[in-house]
Symmetry: C2
Subunit: 355 residues, 2 copies
């Protein structure tokens, strides 16, 4: 399955590189920023799920290729804007879009650090806007691969109405939570935010592949429903595992700083669970670390120990296992195929991954 992902990733890179959308973008640094995330491949999970959903329902995956590129570029604009909002300076081992553009401004104009930061943010807003348009453009090009016009229109409409309102609301709720007291935020509010922020785009990807396979304008189909329940469960397991890795992970393998959710007092389900299952003493210790700007290796050991003692770690692991089982049993209900095998492998992989 990882090999298959790699193959898809290479193909998506090729499709993106060969597309003419960026030709007319000026100035050069903006064009460069628009291409940067899409060309620097991440896991390409979303295009893969789109293509596999198409294949699983007997569709011609060749027809779904532009839609797969579209969902990847769509994901990328949300990352560019999120990185600005979250002040994230690194993405996939490189400077994030706004940091890359800031560095460009420092190199090419004699600007103060503050002015260069503003230049970087301004251009990164515009780069994300262009990727947003590019995602639409790619989806529309599906007509040239033989997807009927009305199906393309229904998918574009899903992207605008379902994916955008969901995903952007999820990001907005996430920001809003960071200004609220973690104990006042209910678990179901967090679950809903996570679904909007990650689940919605997976559902969009999978339903798009399915619509192309079935040549239908409606998601009101029993198979599409089953696939969306599958991707929701997969997405929830993925996110919970991410929360777990963010505290218990290996910094070298995970590639992101461990403990950053504690430092930013982020209301993850793991931290919420730990707070609500803790006794008075444990509760006080956890809270004393939430928002602490620099976390030592020793601090992290103490936090890990306490979260485990509250039972929260096991509870999250149990939840992940339940989501995985749910996803598996739904996928088993589809006829055997290489696409089904890929989905089942992906589901197993997401639970045991260390990255």
């Amino acid at each position: 399955m990882l090999e298959e992902l790699k193959k898809i990733s290479d193909e998506i890179t090729k499709i993106i590189r060969e597309d003419s959308f960026c030709y007319n973008i000026e100035p050069f640094c903006l064009k460069d920023a628009v291409l940067s995330y899409p060309m620097c491949a991440g896991k390409r999970l979303r295009p893969a799920m789109l293509l596999w959903a198409c294949g699983l329902l007997g569709g011609d995956v060749e027809k779904a290729k532009y839609a797969a590129a579209a969902v990847e570029i769509y994901h990328n604009w949300t990352l560019v804007h999120d990185d600005i909002i979250d002040n994230d300076d690194v993405r996939r081992g490189n400077p994030s879009a706004h940091m890359g553009l800031k560095n460009y401004a420092l190199k090419n104009y004699s600007l103060s650090d503050e002015a260069a930061t503003k230049y970087g943010v301004d251009f990164a807003i515009l780069a994300g806007d262009l990727q947003h348009a590019w995602a639409n453009y790619f989806l529309l090009k599906s007509v040239s691969l033989g997807v009927p016009s009305d199906v393309v229109i229904s998918i574009c409409s899903d992207m605008a109405f379902y994916a955008s309102t969901g995903l952007v609301s999820g990001e907005a709720l996430d920001i809003d939570f960071s200004y609220r007291n973690i104990e006042e935020i209910a678990v179901d509010e967090i679950e809903r935010m996570i679904f909007l922020k990650t689940g919605v785009l997976l559902n969009f990807a999978i339903s798009t592949g399915a619509k192309i396979a079935l040549s239908t304008c409606s998601r009101d189909d029993e198979r599409i429903n089953r696939l969306m329940i599958f991707s929701t469960a997969l997405g929830s397991a993925f996110q919970l595992k991410d929360d777990w890795l963010g505290i218990y992970g290996d910094v070298v393998k995970f590639g992101k700083p461990i403990g950053s959710d504690i430092i930013s007092a982020k209301p993850t389900l793991l931290i919420k669970e730990a707070l609500s299952s803790s006794n008075t003493e444990q509760n006080a210790v956890i809270k004393s670390y939430l928002g602490k700007p620099d976390l030592t290796e020793n601090d992290l050991k103490i936090i890990r120990k306490i979260i485990t003692e509250t039972g929260a770690e096991q509870s999250i692991k149990d939840k992940i296992a339940r989501y995985k089982l749910k996803a598996e049993s739904i996928m088993e209900s589809f006829p055997d195929s290489v696409y089904k095998d890929n989905f089942l492998d992906l589901n197993r992989y997401l639970e045991c991954r260390e990255v």
Copy 2:
């Protein structure tokens, strides 16, 4: 014609208010921000031009209504993001989107001014993103008014490929110019930037109305070409008049601060022309005011006098008159109709307007 504009504006407001796109947006302050510019009507020039182009070519303007709402909302997302980039705190007499959201954060969370500013910018980025998606959604809904699917797809594709790459490149060049020495920027660079920033969206609006009228997927039509030359001339006259009003206008009527182009040392064609037509002494005086943070009424008098003496004011007025004549003669080539009269009135109005 102004009455007709008002009627269209009311209708667009009604269409926007009744649309369901915003129902699911959370939290409430984000939904509010998404609706804010579209509901607070500006001139609604772009939707009017779209509808009149449709009528002019014999189309059913009812079919073009969602597209007209789409072009207005599209214009709005670019304003929301531009206002962040340009640090503009006021829009149509109200706080701009990021300022409104900052005020909301100050009222509802106990934040420092800096943190509230960040909150305002972050949410305004997301509000613009949602309006961008909304514009797509409205355009796609044109199918329900009887516009053929393939025509809708071609218009959506124009919006992504032609309007977005053009308009966003124009905004990026405008930012880039502000970091360069005004004397190193060529006149044709400025003209190109202005065309991208304002002309492209007028061309998109007018060609969309025309495509709906002719039920065609291609802009490669002699009438559409003529209409686009018309809107390019109209847009150039509009922009030059804006530059002129920005220095010679009446602050009360114009509604924007006079002299702000001097304060921000913005390379408008009027200022460029004045610099290149000036003698050494005049040149030194103009430059001494460029970038001056506070401009008195007396400073403005001196600047006006010098710009007039260099001949730049007359030169810009002559250019406006030539663009107006060009637009008029093209419009005269179309058969008589109420839509033609509206376009001719608009063209006359744009030259003599004081607001």
